[in-house]
Symmetry: D3
Subunit: 323 residues, 6 copies
């Protein structure tokens, strides 16, 4: 966090994300607020001694507050002493991307790029299904993350990952002309759309927890079931709808990773492999960018417990070229 | 087959199931029919020398024919020489259960028993969902098998297995009062209903092959998705519908066996275990009933490659007490 | 613990279970006792300043003491300052069930219920074996727990779990008449009896640790070996004895869980599955009862790392109906 | 085979591949030759009655012969009665691609395309290593197959698969600019070069068997060890050589598939995944192209035992666009 | 078989092992005997035309007969035409080792060598247990095979394998002086003794099938349980008996291979590994001795599906130096 | 550590190994050194208040320092207050074996013993390869450890483990005369030589971390590749070199443990099993020696999570008899 890099004396004023907030008692049994505040670069602990429960209430995690105060050192770490704190509103014109880890592309731009691709489909049915679902879930898609942890767990990560997989699919179609392009790309666009129902995500675009149905049904099933519903509404043939549904419930490839069935035609297999490729590249890039050139990371449990090597030959920041 | 037990000389007249049928050529290049005919007790090969393609055409597998002829020995096995053969119609009043392996209970009786249980539900929503789906799929349910091979792969096997699992669930509820009975029993009734969409089944009640969507989506997904659709139509709350859908997609227990998620509440877990119990008991009983007391079966690949022992202490025919 | 819920000022007098006990030194190098005391509702830390090693010695874990003292707050938690402490004897008429987590049924009642079932066996041999072993191990069985952690790890848990599995077996026999009832129920009664040799259990009925032979041989082997010995003594035929021994060494089902062989006849398989059913239901019920309706538990490592859902439709306390 | 489609009477004259050849005895103990002859479309059995061992010797499998004879029917299948047979030489100008299954591209063209890519490397060291190895193994590379069975098991398959993976790598670099392009592409070019030492391949470009060292060391190890040798000879830094060697020994990804270590940097991981992608697409395409639209293949053991679906939406012949 | 190497014309007279025997009918419906006869070098098919069921009855597999007849060629293989055939008795002084595959050492010699080792034990208790069991099972041990298939599946194989493992244990004790020698060697001597109860073995020393209790309990459990019984009879301390029992039930090392528990002290672990070493060396040696130098065997399913290489540097016959 | 056993008052003077060293600040912001010092018996924390960064600098881990100071108790543990500290040099004649955990044999003696074995080889080629590599890596081999953790992770552990495996191989050759002794022993001598390139090891003989190529290539590959290079230099036949290389890359037996291929001839298999035997015995012995007789260790994750038993029948210190 920026404030952790100053000399520990200056005053602070600005917007912060509430990471956590609790009421505690001083030794004299006076209540005060203990908070952790964050922006996209890090976190700082904060105390608010002049707390009045009736006036201030409690601040919910993953909301934005405006704070004035000063930073000092406490137990070897910086701590922010809050002098004033208030909730924020639309009038504050907050740029959320500065407060939470976010992808470097704008949600509207990514959404528009995907819509252009949909509009270019030769196949009317896949265009109709994709448009219907994208339009229905537009508000969430613009900022939704792709995960809690692991790959693309940042504001806007869901569309970013989706567009990455679409770009990979387009490239592969150019090399393998026997692939049905519209089917593959439609599957890529919709493959993770069920995540919109799977997480509870605050306005700032960070996943708080799984929803009840996210836990009980999972995004593969929910996305596929949504296609079933939309296809019936729009009168799309069962044959085409079944192919797309299959791509969704099989895209994790291996039952061990939640695929109810394994991919049974080439487009389903290619989608599954390219989804995994983008996720792996993103996770590896993120992990490697945290160690110096010539060093290995610690063991990555989500990557078969591998230690990863930063060979130092390239910039390690894993930004894709998507637009 | 009954005709294999006679002295090999008598005449034969009656109804048979066509197991297979092919046109072959004699050494003099005359076409004749080579068939395998079956009833529920076994098979016999058959030849029809007076075959006229224009008159007789080809006989489809899993249809019923009426045959007159005589049995003689050929290459050490009985063979039926067909004198007359014709297709059958409703007017023949065929009792299909005599021709194909069938459960010992009547489809209508099992269906009625299940409907009585549904009508007794305290919970209106689960009653509504179960009734709607049972009524919609009634025609298939009355004779549908539960599998191709393995457990209950006989005419009527699906309802028989369903009712067995329901009876097990009712028993267990009596011992564990903290189980939500209507939820468990509703899940038991619907758990395999997706098999109605999963197989291609001829009129005689034997599965010919998987349907395209059976292969691509599987009965767990299709059954759950049907609940989603019906619950929306009937205005059932999302909470209740999600619980039932979860029970369907998790009832194979382990992702290795096609469960998209593992059971996450007690009723889902109990359903999964009792489904497995009934399937295992049926498969083991069937395998053991084919060896003599004191003997072991060959290795059963579907049962972890076990050899099974007929201890001879009881009748081995695995008939359940369901009505 | 009850005393943790008072206002932190009152005096305390009563019986407690010693959870742990250690001699420590004050800053002035005076020895004092630091203990953790428990009853079935919880724990409290305690200090005894007037400790005299020659007079008081050390108090063994899982024994019962009588204590007088007062509770005050220390470092944000209640702490009991002991004024007087002494060991207890039979004359104290302690109700151990109030001090340690216990099943809700009386050991004598469960034992009598099982004996009645044994007396009702048609098969003389299984009756003889069961009676002999039950009578020999009676003293332990009346209060033995079923485990350290996981399912039924409470005073009386072994008989409670045994009786639960017996009830499940009886129910299943009513549905599958081809099962040999006496064989199945005898197996159920004896399936975990080897646990009497597997744990070191204090008088209060909580397992302290595995015995040496518990670690080296396991309860499956030891229970089966006991049947071998008893069957020889009582002149039971090798055939019947071998069937029972097989049920014991196979009842964990999968070699991964300690089964030397897999179940090879129906009664062995059914016992194995119903043992697992009761264990799973108990573990899931216990875990779920610790979260509020609408919430998920944390991941349960003993249940394939699942998060479990409290759907709130029933009372979550997993009490079975056994008598 | 073309000759199996004629009317069974015409004369035959042309070049064939020897699939197998054996000397047999007639009933009168006269020796004759029994052969199976092949071209890229299929096989036919053949007999040569006028066989004289001293004159004709035996014909080695996977060599080409010129044959004159006539086809007739024997036991329901076509058989070629050979009248004249002789070995062939360079003077015959045989087009081997007509006789054995071959990729649709010319070996020289693929080799030249890869060399052009190598010449375009910015990195001198990777250019030096790739050129040295490609030049050294040129003669084999021009026609070597990529496997015995499974993917690309045809004449020219090794370069075809190599070029496919290179094309995929180039595409992915365009999307992920943080990948070190020359390193990835060099790894792609060399990843399977060890197959040149792994198989015994006849002049016609079909693998006869594994070489001894192919069995004992495997192509991953041999390819990497070759890089070590060449890098020492050419004075390439150990750091760069180690990265390439790592990519070779890790490119099967999972130790289960022969990878001594798992990929530990992004280029190694991407190579491993794209190698698998091309292999899977080729295997799936080949399997699917053998069934009609709307049909499923049998279970494919090399593809997790999946049945694959021909959805009929595209041409199924898996020809890539590589030049 | 020796008779297959003659010129096909000479007369034959001698003892044979009956591999199989069946009554068949000639085209004129006359019964004749069709047999397969064997000695330790191979098999030959045989026919006996002058068969009279009342006179000759049927000949049981794995019994020895005396035969006179002549060998001729039939369908490209040698066949023995039997002229006279009779059962044999003790008076025939048959050397069974010439008729069935046997180890090259004499059973009595191996038994005596093991007894000498037992007599040399410092530990009285292990000596007592080993003597008691070896004496009790002496008759079987002298000729019992170690398996059906896989390692040491020959007459005398059980003692041969036992003595091999004992020799390995003695060697290892010399290198690791911290191993308790008597315990390790006693475990080695008894580790497979339960195989005496596990197989049905004919007088010739070849296993016909598993016994019922062999299937249901397995030799690990039965051997350990026998130690329990003997130790109680002889008054050996429970501590020492438990260690030996543990070594037996754990000696397959991994539960996947039938070990109820894993080895928990060094002697148990060393026994388990050396048992596997001897088995593997025997299986590999047997497989390799069947291919020529420079060749690979087919895939060996019992050895992780490996192909094995005959490097030709040594004699491949896997005879150990044991006496 | 010896100093932890004194009464906490005496003065200390001597050589120590630096386990860790950090500069910290007192409450008055004065820098001081906080170190952990070690000898082969244990560790002690130490503080050096009179620290002057310019004078003393920082002390690298795994170097040796000379220290004078006094031990007192701090927070319940001994702490060394350093009065004087300096680096050491050759002139100090330090006996490193007293400072770090070391094998009980001298590196020169073990090296000489192995060289004698090599000189005794009948096979010239294996003698040449072994000599060349042993001489080249002599300096490292004399003190190199065999691992970071797990078996033989002590100074001199690599040669100690190597010689142990050689001794086991020699013993086994005496029992199985069909093993090619020189091949097996040469493989044993070289099997772990790649560890010399795999770790970064300080002068004191303790591994600090994996080298970059240790991580990326592993010792199996690097050792085998070294044989390839040496064999080419010395003109050894490819056949013999390939056998040795195979033994190195296969000696972990199972791909799961890094073996690129499985052992395919007897010598490779025996080496793999005996390598595992020595490693297991060493790990088990080390773990068991840390608990009292009659006790179990905690779960050992590197040994399949087993608890191990100290049966108390022998000395538990796992010293092998190697010279």
């Amino acid at each position: 966090m920026n404030y952790t890099k100053n000399d520990g004396r200056g005053n602070v004023e600005g917007f912060f994300l509430v990471a956590s907030c609790a009421v505690k008692l001083t030794k004299k049994s006076q209540p005060y607020l203990y908070m952790v505040l964050a922006d996209r670069t890090g976190e700082i602990s904060a105390v608010f001694w002049d707390y009045d429960e009736d006036v201030h209430g409690i601040f919910e995690p993953n909301t934005v507050v405006k704070v004035r105060g000063s930073v000092s050192s406490y137990n070897g770490a910086d701590q922010l002493r809050i002098e004033r704190i208030r909730r924020t509103s639309a009038a504050d014109n907050i740029v959320i991307e500065e407060l939470v880890p976010s992808v470097e592309l704008n949600g509207e731009d990514m959404y528009a790029a995907i819509m252009r691709i949909v509009d270019g489909f030769e196949d009317d049915d896949y265009r109709v299904i994709c448009r219907a679902i994208l339009e229905k879930e537009r508000d969430q898609l613009l900022y939704w993350p792709a995960a809690f942890k692991l790959h693309h767990a940042v504001r806007g990560g869901l569309l970013y990952h989706t567009l990455s997989v679409v770009r990979l699919c387009e490239s592969v179609c150019a090399i393998y002309p026997f692939i049905k392009r519209d089917l593959l790309v439609a599957g890529a666009i919709l493959h993770d759309v069920g995540k919109v129902y799977e997480f509870e995500v605050g306005e700032v675009g960070i996943a708080n927890e799984y929803s009840v149905k996210g836990n009980l049904l999972g995004h593969l099933y929910m996305g596929a079931s949504e296609i079933e519903t939309v296809a019936r509404e729009k009168g799309v043939s069962s044959e085409k709808s079944v192919l797309l549904q299959h791509m969704l419930i099989s895209h994790h490839g291996d039952p061990e990773f939640g695929a109810a069935v394994r991919p049974q035609f080439i487009e389903a297999e290619v989608l599954s492999q390219l989804d995994r490729l983008d996720a792996t590249v993103n996770e590896m890039g993120t992990a490697i960018s945290e160690v110096a050139a010539g060093e290995f990371t610690g063991r990555q449990w989500a990557l078969d417990n591998r230690k990863l090597y930063n060979h130092g030959l390239t910039d390690t920041d894993p930004k894709a070229k998507l637009l």
